[in-house]
Each structure stands twice: as structure tokens, then as C-alpha cells.
């Protein structure tokens, strides 16, 4: 096994670059090293000006999403040895404006996030219970998969529709809305309906399915969106057939 591998990193420093450029670094190739370890090696030993986000190194924080050899990946979960003989292409996540090097701008998602009310909406008519809310394992299984989302934005980078329609709420956000809709303790489904069943909600999705393929946590946003389309379509039919009823 050769003991080094080349990494082609996209550089963009707005204070001096007009456009992104690619810079090659030769780094040691070790069996247990991920792309993030390689970038940390560059930052510590070779070029301290390289910028990228990272924190936990173990696929929990969702900070180190980047495009590795063309696919949206967490750098901490992508091993250099799987990309032999190299060079490994490391670019910022697609579909987002770049702030610097591999750091992307997430304001669009952060602004959309509260619109889906990703928290437990309680029934305000009822007094809060004296004890904790109880839930059976079956009730938890309903939403547990969707609660694994770490907001790493890989699904947004993978989604071709998000690249074309900036208003689209996007995969993670709709999966998050479903995570709360399917929770037996939540009463907010009606409040989320207006946002999620809007044209820029589920109806922008054309079921490409790349979001579910990209997800590093096994969440199935594409499935969540298709399930929600059924709910939203039923509501539409009800409002068309029974216009005098509830909405």
C-alpha cells in the first residue's frame, strides 16, 4: 500500500480569489484515517489557512458534510483507503453558497426550519399532565427513524430540486415535520399542514430519492415526503369535495 494519497481540495478565499481553485495536498495514507483526519493533518502540518467545519469526528454533530469524489458525505465517516489510489476530490456541499473553502452558508435552511415547527406542539386546551407523557415502543417506532436526523445538509446537497427551486422546504425539513406529526405526544399536525402541503412543501418534490441515498443516518426523507403527499392529497380532496367542512 502506498503511504501517501493526494487530496484535491477546493479553495476559495473571498478576500483574494475571484473564483474557487483547486489545491493538491499529499497526505499520509493510514488505514484508520478518514478524509477529516486528512484535512486536520493539512490544517495542522501543511497549510493552516484551510477552512472547514468539524466537531465530533463520529457522525453525530453533522458539521463536516462535504462533497467527496462527487458525492455528499460526512468527512468523518469517509475513509481515505476507500478512495485509493486517489486523488480524492474534496469540494464544498453543492446547492449552497460558499463562504470560504469548504464552509457553506446555511442561512436558507435555518430561516425555513422554524416554519415546520420542529418541536412538540401541545394541546393548549388541556392542562399539562402531572407525570411524564407515556409512549409505547410501537408509538416510538412510528417516528424514531426520522428523529435520527443530524441536520448535516447532505440531503439538500444531493437534492436536484433544491438546486433548482430555492423556495423548496427540502428533504430534512419535511422529514422533521413528519417526525413530530407521527409522535403520539404531538398535536401540531394541523398547524404544519399549511406549510408542508404548500406548493414549495411536498409538491416541489419529484421523488428523485437521492436524499435517502445520501443520508448518513438511515433516515428516509423521500419516504417521509411521499407519505406526507398522501396526507396532503387527502386533505385537498376533502376541501374540494366538502368545501363547507373543516378547511
Amino acid at each position: 500500500m502506498p503511504d501517501t494519497i493526494a487530496v484535491d481540495v477546493t479553495r476559495y478565499r473571498p478576500d483574494r480569489d475571484d473564483r474557487p481553485t483547486t489545491q493538491r495536498y499529499e497526505i499520509p495514507l493510514r488505514k484508520e484515517w478518514t478524509v477529516l483526519d486528512g484535512l486536520n493533518y493539512v490544517k495542522d502540518r501543511v497549510d493552516g489557512t484551510l477552512s472547514y467545519r468539524w466537531s465530533c469526528r463520529m457522525g453525530i454533530c453533522g458539521s463536516c458534510g462535504m462533497t467527496i469524489d462527487g458525492d455528499p458525505k460526512l468527512a468523518c465517516e469517509t475513509f481515505l483507503t476507500d478512495h485509493r489510489p486517489g486523488p480524492v476530490r474534496v469540494e464544498p456541499l453543492h446547492n449552497f453558497p460558499v463562504i470560504r473553502d469548504l464552509v457553506v452558508e446555511l442561512t436558507d435552511f435555518m430561516a425555513k426550519l422554524p416554519r415546520a415547527k420542529p418541536w412538540l406542539v401541545t394541546d393548549s386546551d388541556k392542562p399539562p399532565p402531572d407525570a411524564e407523557y407515556r409512549q409505547t415502543p410501537a408509538e416510538m417506532d412510528e417516528y424514531k427513524q426520522y428523529s435520527m436526523c443530524i441536520n448535516c445538509m447532505l440531503c439538500y446537497a444531493a437534492c436536484p430540486v433544491y438546486g433548482l427551486e430555492r423556495d423548496f422546504l427540502g428533504p430534512a425539513l419535511i422529514a422533521l415535520a413528519q417526525r413530530y406529526n407521527l409522535d403520539s405526544r404531538d398535536h401540531g399536525a394541523d398547524e404544519r399542514l399549511e406549510v408542508v402541503s404548500a406548493p414549495e412543501g411536498v409538491w416541489d418534490c419529484t421523488f428523485v430519492g437521492e436524499c435517502s441515498r445520501a443520508c448518513p443516518k438511515g433516515v428516509d426523507p423521500a419516504g417521509a415526503i411521499q407519505r406526507y403527499k398522501v396526507t396532503a392529497a387527502k386533505e385537498t380532496l376533502r376541501s374540494l369535495l366538502l368545501p363547507w367542512g373543516r378547511r
Binding site: A198, P199, T206, A233, S239
Partner: protein, 118 residues
């Protein structure tokens, strides 16, 4: 709210139903009438038998539903493939009109053919 563009959910329902129905019925019909009967793998029903079958209102209704929904399924798919795949968002209205217009025309033709079987 959903009433702002209520046509999209309805088109999606037709798309879903068309996909489901086509996936279930079209392979069976193709296998029977495209392979098994012409190749003699199964004894082919005679013309009088099939004619009587197609004259039944139930068969006509099933064939009409299959054709119409399959056409709307195809129209929906083609619309997104052309609009997003070929990046023709500026021609969105034209693409919609051609895709769904084609499905409507095909449906009308199917209805006419099925209604005029004597």
C-alpha cells in the same frame, strides 16, 4: 394552503394510481397478449370469446381506467423529466400543456374507441 394550487395534489393522485395500476396490470397483459398467446405458450382464446369479453361494460371500464391513469402517470413523469432534466423551467406552461394535453387527448381517444366497440 392546499386550495392555492389544488390541481397539483389531484395530478399526483392520478400519477400514483396510474403507476400502481400499470405496475400491476400492464406486465400481465403484455405477457399474455405479447408473448404467451402469440408464441403458443398458452392456448389463445378465440376472437369471439375476447370480443364478448371486451364488450362487457366492466372490461371497458377497467381498460379505460388503466389507460387514462397510465397516461396521466406518464404525463406527470415526462413533465418533470423535461422541465427539470432539460432545465426548461421558462417553458413550464408549454411543457405542462403538452404533457397533460397529450394525456387528455389520449384519454379521449381511448374513451371513444372503447365506447364504439360494437
Amino acid at each position: 394552503m392546499t386550495t392555492r394550487r389544488p390541481v397539483e395534489p389531484v395530478l399526483w393522485l392520478a400519477f400514483s394510481a396510474g403507476g400502481m395500476l400499470s405496475a400491476l396490470l400492464v406486465p400481465v397483459l403484455l405477457l399474455l397478449f405479447g408473448l404467451a398467446f402469440p408464441l403458443g405458450l398458452l392456448p389463445a382464446p378465440d376472437h369471439a370469446h375476447l370480443h364478448a369479453l371486451v364488450r362487457s361494460p366492466v372490461t371497458r371500464l377497467v381498460l379505460l381506467a388503466l389507460t387514462v391513469l397510465a397516461l396521466f402517470h406518464a404525463a406527470h413523469r415526462l413533465r418533470y423529466t423535461v422541465r427539470d432534466g432539460l432545465q426548461l423551467k421558462r417553458l413550464e406552461r408549454l411543457v405542462d400543456a403538452l404533457c397533460y394535453g397529450g394525456a387528455v387527448a389520449g384519454s379521449a381517444l381511448a374513451a371513444y374507441l372503447l365506447a364504439t366497440i360494437s
